[in-house]
């Protein structure tokens, strides 16, 4: 990736207003999200106990978070006992320093990477580049994004905004060994990536990954993937460095029986993803380092409503059903975490200090489709509403809300206001003047009745 999202200008309404003008983007997103929705619905429908799995997944994550300190210590002990090394990082800068130091200690200047949200979040590739280390993304979609000098726009499929013809163009322009007669057949594009990365896999001595799950009880890390680039990176290099958010821990090995059913079906809409790798400490003689990353997670954990966002297993089902995401695309969210989950995770991880981050809780119609499909039952609308209350509001809006609160909080004041409105009903304008017209142009003012319900009830009752 050429740049990180941190400090991206703009706000969600502006970004999305631009994005919806891009008809190619809207077409690509609609096609892709509708394909995956159908697949997910069909494989989820196959399991008679989906809701029971979902309830268990939610509770296992809540239990983990409730005793996160204990489970992290247990994990550290198990990984260390199995020959691995555990490092702790308070923030992005600290994590990047640790990884750069570990890579330099091997004497290598190149690393291969498995797709990882945590390393994107901390801008690891850029930090390594600043230290003279080149990071090569090996996931096909990440490769498309990296070669295209682009930003990821989806958690699972970072290049979802690109169609096959655009991907072909990027490969022909930027991949030095792309075959000249490359077609836009997905199989041909995948083959070109296979050939391009083959030598790199066999040559690389250091790999960087994330992990989907870490098991406290056994010290086992788990990575789910499709292409085999994960297996290549996790298996062949002599040194493996995994950067993982502290919330990814699960208490017991048995808990995997729940998440290995929830994640693939929610994510790619398959009964099982092609490859899942698990390893404990130093597997087959590998030098293994685990970097545990906080980077704002303990702030999220401290929020009683918002902490449920830490249950997220990054499946992206909420993106695929979201009417807002489908039209605005992932870039509008200005974060590696787009869509509904991004709208609640980003403002909590980064705070709402920037205009962009303060606008994210409004990037939703609150329709609730995201909550319905979430495999760990994160009530995204609930968190959005809570964040809206916490977001900064303008002086005029705060004054207006104070007046409304004063009126609505008292029966007599409300009745007086309603009677006044009834008397003035002929004079209420349909359209407000000046900048206020932006409000009335997109809303219908309800008709004010001749008599309020309260007055009618008093008269008739």
């Amino acid at each position: 990736m050429s740049a990180t999202f941190i400090g991206m200008p703009g706000n969600f309404p502006k970004n999305s207003a631009q994005a919806v003008q891009n008809s190619q983007l809207r077409y690509n997103l609609r096609k892709a999200t509708h394909t995956i929705r159908g697949k997910r619905a069909s494989v989820v429908g196959e399991l008679p106990d989906w809701q029971e799995l979902r309830a268990a997944g939610k509770a296992i994550k809540d239990e983990t978070l409730r005793h996160l300190d204990r489970y992290l210590l247990q994990l550290e002990e198990a990984v260390t006992a199995a020959g691995g090394h555990v490092h702790w990082a308070r923030d992005a800068a600290e994590a990047n320093r640790i990884v750069a130091g570990l890579v330099k200690a091997t004497g290598e200047r190149e690393v291969v990477k498995v797709k990882s949200m945590a390393t994107q979040e901390i801008g690891l590739n850029e930090a390594l580049a600043a230290e003279g280390i080149t990071a090569y993304e090996t996931d096909l979609a990440e490769l498309i994004v990296q070669l295209g000098d682009d930003f990821p726009s989806h958690i699972l499929v970072p290049a979802i905004h690109r169609n096959r013809a655009e991907i072909r163009e990027i490969f022909l322009d930027r991949m030095e060994d792309a075959p000249p007669g490359l077609t836009d057949e997905p199989a041909a594009l995948a083959e070109a990536a296979r050939v391009h990365l083959r030598e790199r896999f066999l040559r690389s001595r250091v790999a960087v990954s994330g992990a989907n799950f870490m098991i406290a009880e056994t010290g086992t890390l788990v990575v789910l993937e499709s292409e085999g680039n994960g297996r290549m990176c996790l298996t062949l290099p002599e040194t493996l460095i995994s950067v993982v958010g502290i919330e990814k821990v699960l208490p017991t090995w048995r808990d995997l029986e729940v998440f290995l059913q929830l994640l693939p079906r929610s994510s790619t809409g398959e009964r099982m993803n092609p490859y899942t790798s698990t390893w404990t400490g130093s597997a087959e003689g590998q030098d293994f380092h685990l970097v545990l990353l906080d980077n704002g997670r303990t702030d999220v954990l401290a929020d009683e409503v918002g902490r449920q966002a830490l249950r997220c297993i990054r499946c992206s089902a909420c993106l695929n059903v979201c009417p807002v995401y489908e039209r605005a695309g992932g870039h509008a969210y200005g974060s590696v975490y787009p869509g509904p989950i991004g709208a609640i995770l980003t403002p909590q991880l980064r705070g709402m200090g920037s205009e962009l981050d303060a606008s994210l809780p409004y990037a939703s119609s609150l329709c609730g489709a995201c909550y319905e499909v979430c495999p760990v039952a994160i009530d995204i609308p609930e968190v959005l509403v809570d964040l809206r209350a916490k977001a900064p509001h303008g002086a005029a809006e705060r004054a207006g809300m104070r007046v409304a609160g004063w009126v609505l909080n008292d029966q007599a004041r409300l009745a007086a206001a309603q009677r006044a409105a009834t008397r003035l009903r002929g004079l209420v304008p349909r359209r407000l003047p000046g900048p206020l017209s932006a409000w009335t142009d997109t809303r219908d003012l309800p008709d004010i009745p001749e008599e309020s319900f309260r007055d009618w009830w008093e008269r008739e009752g």
Partner: protein, 196 residues
């Protein structure tokens, strides 16, 4: 003297969750799935991933293997049962995975509902590199290794061993979210289910 990152993070966590309610984990999902025909469901689901799958009587497995791998230089991992070892492989010794045409293995467990085979690097299953680098993987699954669902498989496996769960050939959904088989892992997966 400032505190270490580890102490800092642990202290922040304990402050953050102070007073949060305790959690009960309801495990009302199926611990064992009811499947009448394990072999039938497993082969159907493996086939859905566009892997090649055959059901073969145990006694005929050696001949089928010999026929399938004829003309291919196969990696033969340590501990592969002698009767599964291709006839011309024994004197040449195990082939180098980087130049071999394919690899032949057994497995640790297989899952009917998801069409998954799991390798744990045990006898006859090879190292992780041996089953990854060659472009072709032939896996022999004994019918009694097939369990119905994911929970049964998890309970049979040893987390200390490095595990590889394989569901079909290498694939990607990165182009327009359509599944395409064949990226970095073996592009062809062939499964022989040995039934008695």
């Amino acid at each position: 003297m400032s505190r270490s990152a580890r102490e800092d993070i642990l202290a922040r966590i304990s402050r953050a969750v102070d007073g949060a309610p305790e959690v009960e984990i309801p495990r009302r999902y199926r611990a064992t799935a009811r499947v009448d025909d394990l072999v039938g469901l497993f082969t159907e689901r493996v086939g859905d991933y566009r892997a090649i799958v055959h059901v073969v009587p145990e006694a005929e497995v050696p001949a089928r293997i010999a026929g399938i791998v004829a003309g291919r230089r196969m990696v033969v991992p340590d501990g592969l049962p002698a009767e599964w070892t291709p006839p011309d492989a024994s004197d040449a010794g195990p082939a180098d995975p980087y130049t071999a045409d394919g690899v032949i293995t057994g497995c640790a467990v297989a899952i009917a509902e998801t069409g998954t085979i799991v390798l744990d690097t045990g006898p006859g299953q090879g190292s992780r590199a041996q089953t990854l680098v060659p472009d072709y993987h032939l896996c022999v699954v004994r019918a009694d290794q097939i369990v119905a669902g994911v929970p049964e498989a998890v309970s049979r496996l040893d987390p200390i061993r490095p595990l590889t769960w394989i569901s079909g050939p290498s694939a990607t959904s990165d182009i327009e979210l359509n599944r395409v088989e064949g990226v970095h892992g073996p592009r062809t997966l062939e499964v022989l289910v040995a039934v008695s």
